[in-house]
Subunit: 307 residues, 5 copies
């Protein structure tokens, strides 16, 4: 075991060896294997946004096998998807890439102000499909968050007892947050903390903006002069908020952005001590050769081979 | 095993052999056996719309045995019905036709804007009745969809573990959709995707109209010039939205229509790469000789013996 | 449903429709489909006698796929085998032939005088593999028979609750029977009765000899002048012993015999009202073309096309 | 996935993807990764023969971490051990090598003629320790074999349901076999067949001698002139007996032997189509540098880099 | 946490923190707290040998509270007893000393050659009584050992899942061992290994004699010149046999002995790297003041304050 991977695993030494083994499988796999950095391909947009919005830009993506191939060829650390996408592709790629089963999902055919995802699969599915982890989305800020936290608690207890790692998508949303507040730095830091307190092994949050949403928080950020001017500062703050960096925090880019902006974001994640990126639409919504080049640049930034 | 059936089954190679066997039983049965196409007779209208609306046009249909006879004589691939209809007829027709137990149902005695079906039977019923599959309706778009998706997830997990296939009726409905939006092409494609992601083995949707309902989707359909002008185009798009055609998608005709229109729809399903039809009212609401002739023409279209 | 199949199923009208469906699947399948007669291919000799004794005469039989192919090409009603043989071949033949999972097995590496088979698979395996029935061997006459009857009772209860049929191999053996007594007509008739009383849907026994083993029975056979002179007489007596012919009784040929003798035995089974044959070694221990010819003749005898 | 690994996995296409993933993890790991060949380090001798007999020749082996290190440095495909040895070492090597939990064990403090192993751990242990498979020993030939087969059946059903592979040590022993008969070619072939019929994914047997033990088998070996003159012939026969080579069969060297003899045995396994070796005492009962050199030569023979 | 205790706990880093906490509670308690050495008071002789043989020498011991008091006043690390003794005394001493519930027991009213203990309490008792560990006796060498190992496996799985440590009394006995063989050095080393492989956290064995019992072992002890001349040598060998000292091994004095001999044994345990003593009869079969003086001397030897 590589020294950096060993160090990361040491933070999880109250977990059973099965969980640590599955964390190691992700950390040791692909081009970033052994660096302690991760790039994960998630493809749940077919469910979350609909198939056409997701796959029309690159119709190869309608086929569930495409995303396995993309993640494997790019050398990603893991591939995350809902039940159907994994079931319809896994048999051709058994053992070729660590898999994360996204166990709850939300569609936009009835988009509530206080959303909750439906539980669409579970631990027994993850085991029979050979996954290393379950993934679960919570919406801190939603009036329905209590239900989601409790659902996460149940799936976490079951998953950890059988050695599966738990990856939490922690996405603030809901009637009491402004649209901008969803990515405000205080809210993102809070979302990371909540996921960590719920027992997440890996935490996925959005990149934080400079905005501070909550009035009580604003006072504190000012009083203690928390550095949040640069994106790297904010990444550092979010990582600190996830147990002083002792839980793996990765960042999503969200909506499509120009590549240069995306690369700068990756540099900020790297410089701020983030553990990597989870990149969906920016990966699979372009032709595969371009996607491979794009992901190669991102991985190069994490690796240090690209400045 | 016929080559086309073998190809279709290969898409399900992460499922256990029991599921694949039951899919084969449907694909190998009846006049379309071996073609990869399916015509299924569903009779749940007694529950869904009331007996008189359903059976007065052809009173023979009040008798549960009638529909078994019709499906068998017509050479359908399978017959689908709720618990009572199967229980009251199956003993006379054991082994004569693959059966699908429709496990949830909704009536119109209190028709909510955000409907949910009641679970009316389950996996143990399907096994004791000798069924090859369970059927389940979801209403994407309903404010109650989360509950339905989670109910489906539970019945799917149980059904697949005992080798039963899962057939999902994915019918968008609910307060946030316009009436026309229920069959809008983007909404139908989305409904097919959701069913596939939930693990459906066979997906039943309505034939899509040319309308695009969701504003975010409209931009995409325009930008990428998705062909949706003809019904065959739209069928092709929906089939693509169900994992690039790697899940079986069949179409319902919905309300009664003139036969010629229905035949044209079947031609469009065939030309668009759909896997067949599920035909209720157009079949059982006419005298049996006419129904057999009607179904024979439809099957002829799928077979290629009728242009 | 064919009239004769309908008549046979009527004897099972206290069983649930799932069981009747699976009985119908066997009765409707293959060349003898609809005749009420059955020829089943069983291949458990690899476990029961060792692989070389079983497969050296026709080495193609080492491959689990071979027996599926043979049973399908010959038009058998069903194929029966232990867990491993089914698991290793089923995926290529899903839905092509009804399968019977042989749930207990015995080897001859420590051959006791009072044998018992080990339970090697069960109902959940049968369901996930898509089987129509479970098979189970009992050794009436063994000092361990009570354990076997109770094991059979448990598996029968479970199998029937999920609609699987139960096939019982009823083979008298044990320290209190002479070697010849194992096939004595009174003992075979008794074995058929025991299986029927235990709830077997299909009963497999060996062809009975003219010997009457048990002293108490000898008196009765003499007093009532039970006709047992010809094999057809004895078959008739065994079938009568299985509930006056209201349970399906099939006969095994046992050790290899000249084909003419085998054909005469089939004629006797037919003439005595037996329901068919279960033919292992005589089928798979010769080259496939010869095996197909052999099985075709046997089926012809049952069908009436061969005298 | 490598072509040969893909081919091997295709034999297991009735298993769920979790099992196939764990088989792939073993086949893709270490120096022989991708070749379809395997060298596994098993260390259960501390329990089976006592610590001093096992570890005095190389006292580093008293430490459970030693064997992890040896297996990792040598590039073995997997490491197999009982509960205590895995628990006491795994935390330092999470994810570094596929692990097989040996779930039953036998000691020689009361060595019966008809032995049975005690169940010492199970599926939940394997999951929490991050294993890819469970291992289980059966003694065909023991009067207690029925109990062992049934214990194996239960652990197999549980393990496969959660995606763990099943490795069976099939070692004929017992009162009805002569000492030489335990490795007689007919008995070893029979032992491989039994394990395969019981659902084993990987089968471990001893190298067979030229002796044929069972009288009924002797006739068959002679009549069909089964080639068993060379060790490669016998390996080929045993592999054929495990479903015509469609189950992975690996061979143990058994007692310590001169290295040259061992290398010749590896050549015979390779030439006879065996899938590799499971090498305990010959590996860990010498100093690590020598052990690494020894294992390197063995792997070279399988790889083709050593003649 | 003390450095030595931290080091010891590091050997258990695949166990959950609850188990490590309970090991720490014992290691941090009493006069030897923090030294890594342990003296435990066990009182199961009332059950094992009868009350009069056990308590007549010091009638205060008939009272269950006496032993709590003795263990507390002496500064033992833990007190171990069967259900009744703990239930009848614990309420007065809650939290005063770590408790080990001895979960199986054997009496001498029917002393078999191949003994097995009865399970007399379990994990739920240990939890409701506030214990830190369960204790369990196995008799390697008994014809009934398989049953005992499997019972231990079950209680271990349950105990560890709720954070209780597992203490195993591993006492070779049975028809295939000579009386002297029960404490032969090879047999004691083997017994320690078996307990460790079964997952014991703390192992209790008897002090080994110079005898080597098993013929196969004798060859090895001679060939490798294993040092077993002194008691310290033999202790060192047994500790090495328990995973190179990475499992806690403590020794019992067995029958009553003169104090000087006992002190010399403690010195040998200390010098040989043993982790301490478990002292029953020598403690409680004398008046408390003498017992306290005696235990103080033993602890002084472990501490280093007594030579």
């Amino acid at each position: 075991m590589n020294g950096r991977v060993r160090e990361i695993l040491s933070w999880y030494d109250s977990e059973n060896p099965g969980i640590r083994t599955n964390l190691a499988r992700m950390h040791n796999h692909g081009r970033l294997g052994g660096t302690g950095k991760m790039v994960i391909l998630p493809v749940d947009q077919g469910f979350e946004h609909g198939p056409t919005r997701s796959f029309a830009p690159n119709p190869a993506g309608y086929d569930p096998r495409y995303h396995f191939q993309l993640a494997i060829e790019a050398g990603c650390n893991a591939y995350a998807a809902p039940l159907g996408f994994l079931e319809a592709g896994v048999a051709d790629y058994c053992g070729d890439i660590p898999l994360i089963l996204k166990c709850n999902n939300h569609d936009v055919l009835n988009d509530e102000r206080d959303p909750i995802s439906a539980i669409t699969s579970g631990v027994s599915d993850a085991l029979r499909l050979g996954c290393v982890a379950v993934g679960f989305t919570i919406y801190p800020g939603s009036a329905q968050r209590t239900t989601m936290y409790e659902e996460l608690r149940e799936i976490t207890e079951e998953a950890k007892s059988v050695g599966l790692a738990v990856v939490v998508w922690s996405y603030p949303r809901g009637s009491s947050l402004s649209k901008e507040g969803e990515t405000a730095v205080d809210v993102v830091a809070y979302a990371a903390q909540i996921a960590a307190q719920l027992g997440a092994d890996i935490i996925k949050v959005k990149l934080p903006s400079e905005k501070v949403e909550l009035p009580e928080a604003q006072k504190v950020y000012q009083k203690y002069e928390i550095p949040i001017a640069t994106l790297a500062d904010r990444v550092r703050h979010v990582v600190q908020s996830a147990f002083a960096g002792r839980r793996i925090v990765i960042f999503s880019g969200g909506v499509s952005a120009p590549d240069d902006q995306f690369y700068n974001e990756a540099r900020a994640i790297r410089d701020g001590g983030g553990f990597g990126s989870i990149i969906g639409r920016n990966s699979f919504q372009r032709k595969k050769p371009e996607a491979l080049k794009f992901l190669s640049t991102v991985m190069g930034i994490y690796e240090g081979s690209v400045q």
